[in-house]
């Protein structure tokens, strides 16, 4: 059970003066139960790639298969396969459309043929998932919200559909720190419970390091690196910097501490790991 990206290329506005090769021979596979972060400089092709994964765009060359089914088909199997992939778009305002937040989130589950009671339950739990108070927000318009509130409605709408594969295009841009942490911890819960395949597109190295086991690094429409997040953040710092990427803040702080003489071990990918590494280096405790 997986999303397979098989040698795909894609060009915007081919044969015009604005021709733009956005993807070039990209291949990888993400299995159900995997949590992958996709990073890369602005304009590297991440969103273009994401839109191929739910069949919104089709490759000029190569193909994308979900659970073995080519998304390009016009038959029922292809439609079903596309339906297994939920997508949180980079710009939430492009995703929202209904008059109230309730109706916006209810749209997906209703389309899946759920009963009114099931739809209602799905909306309520999705709103709780993203920390939006039902009584305050359900009847409000999704267009008269703060940036971060709008982002949360867009995430709720996709979560309510319980997709097998979840693609999130910069879901935390504009979220405040605590909502971001809460939403990710909820996400990790359903990820473990339902064994979804998750692809997280992000410009935050901290997020990629904290949540993903595997990292895909794009640059100029090509896939440059594909491997365990810890390996890449340990060994490929120079390459990352050359590609406008970086290592997480905790890795930088650890390096500075080492330069000042603290004998700190390993590559601490998160704040918690850094704290433990400092305690161990200082001999304070290591529980």
């Amino acid at each position: 059970m997986s999303i397979e990206v098989d040698h795909i290329s894609y060009t915007y506005m081919a044969h015009t003066s604005l021709e733009n090769k956005a993807l070039e021979d990209v291949s990888f596979r993400v299995d159900k139960g995997e949590f992958v972060a996709l990073i890369g400089h602005t304009g590297s092709g991440k969103s273009t790639l994401a839109e191929h994964l739910n069949g919104l765009l089709h490759p000029d060359e190569g193909c994308v298969r979900v659970d073995g089914v080519d998304l390009k088909g016009k038959d029922r199997a292809a439609k079903e396969a596309r339906g297994k992939v939920g997508m949180v778009f980079q710009y939430p305002e492009h995703q929202l459309f209904a008059e109230t937040i309730y109706e916006d989130i209810a749209f997906g589950p209703r389309n899946q043929g759920k009963s009114p009671e099931e739809v209602d339950a799905a909306v309520r739990s999705a709103m709780a998932f993203v920390d939006l108070d039902y009584d305050v927000f359900a009847s409000r318009s999704p267009f008269q919200l703060s940036g971060g509130q709008m982002r949360r409605v867009a995430i709720a709408g996709v979560v309510a559909m319980e997709p097998d594969y979840l693609i999130m295009d910069e879901p935390s841009a504009g979220l405040d720190p605590v909502s971001r942490d809460n939403i990710f911890s909820q996400l990790m819960k359903i990820f473990h419970k339902r064994q979804m395949g998750v692809i997280l597109i992000t410009h935050s190295m901290e997020e990629a390091a904290q949540y993903a086991d595997r990292l895909l690094v794009m640059s100029g429409g090509k896939l440059h690196l594909d491997g365990p997040a810890r390996d890449i953040f340990t060994h490929d710092r120079e390459t990352l910097e050359k590609l406008s990427m970086d290592v997480p803040e905790s890795v930088k702080l650890a390096d500075e501490l080492r330069q000042q003489g603290l004998s700190l071990k390993g590559t601490p990918l998160t704040e918690a790991e850094l704290i433990r590494a400092i305690e161990r280096a200082k001999g304070w405790k290591a529980c």
Binding site: G174, P177, R180, H203, S244, M245, E256, I278
Partner: protein, 278 residues
């Protein structure tokens, strides 16, 4: 010195399509002095963007007053001088670009306000120079990186020669390199051109660069002070739904583990506290 921006008992209540009222700002009192660099932090919906939009009269108070360079933003005749004084840069670089060539994009605002032709070129060149994009004057904006596009957007605002620029999460859509470029540009505008900066962000590593931090909560100002004053109160910041920069968070956790440390904000300070030999 007179404040460049002043909010006096400023409140703002939105009325939505169904006539529901939503009070986004309550009795805000605030003075911002020329040349200051202010960071505004706060949870989603706490009122940051609503407040910022008052500073260039995109919104006007439903109660109280907002003064820019001493001018009341509610008075129709003050609209242009207010917008001339305060420029805005938003989150999404793509939505702020209008023309097909970089220098035309930067000139757009100048033409709009009727700046005479011969004056336009030098102002465009100076603005591109300041953001370090001179080499891209003839390029097509859609081919640039996000950080470069955002710098073009800043140049467009700079060309209007504002005394103050409000940035509403300018790095939220940018990669690490683009983020660094924008932060450097903002610091340069403040330190070298003495432009007053109001900088909204969810990234605390950016907020600590400001002279003063304002933390909003549910439509009012909850905390105010230097980065050190604000971010060494880790528990209070957490209660507001925010976080502190990494070094402060780490120091706080080590303290809680029973190890005495001085107040810490930056990487250097943590290094000094943990490696005193050097």
């Amino acid at each position: 010195m007179e404040p460049i921006i002043e909010a006096r008992h400023l409140s703002h209540t939105y009325v939505d399509g169904q006539n529901q009222e939503m009070t986004a700002l309550k009795d805000i009192n605030l003075s911002i002095m020329p040349g200051e660099f202010i960071a505004i932090i706060g949870t989603n919906g706490s009122g940051k963007s609503t407040l910022a939009r008052h500073f260039n009269a995109l919104l006007t108070p439903t109660e109280g007053k907002c003064l820019v360079g001493g001018l009341d933003t509610s008075v129709e005749a003050n609209l242009w001088p207010v917008r001339q004084t305060v420029g805005m840069v938003f989150q999404n670089p793509d939505n702020q670009i209008v023309a097909a060539i970089v220098e035309e994009d930067v000139a757009f605002g100048l033409e709009n306000i009727g700046v005479p032709g011969p004056e336009i070129r030098p102002r465009v060149e100076a603005a591109l120079e300041t953001v370090g994009m001179t080499a891209y004057a003839k390029h097509a904006p859609h081919r640039l990186s996000g950080g470069q596009k955002q710098r073009i957007a800043i140049a467009g605002v700079l060309a209007l020669e504002p005394k103050c620029i409000v940035f509403d999460e300018p790095t939220a859509m940018l990669d690490p390199k683009g983020r660094k470029d924008i932060v450097e540009t903002v610091l340069k505008l403040n330190k070298e051109k003495q432009i007053t900066i109001i900088y909204i962000t969810h990234k605390m590593e950016e907020a600590i660069l400001a002279d003063r931090i304002i933390a909003m909560n549910q439509g009012h100002i909850e905390m105010e002070g230097t980065p050190k004053e604000v971010f060494t109160q880790v528990d209070r910041i957490r209660k507001l739904g925010l976080e502190c920069p990494l070094a402060a968070e780490v120091a706080n956790a080590l303290q809680k583990g029973g190890h005495k440390l001085p107040p810490i904000l930056t990487h250097e300070e943590l290094c000094q506290a943990l490696c005193p030999s050097k």
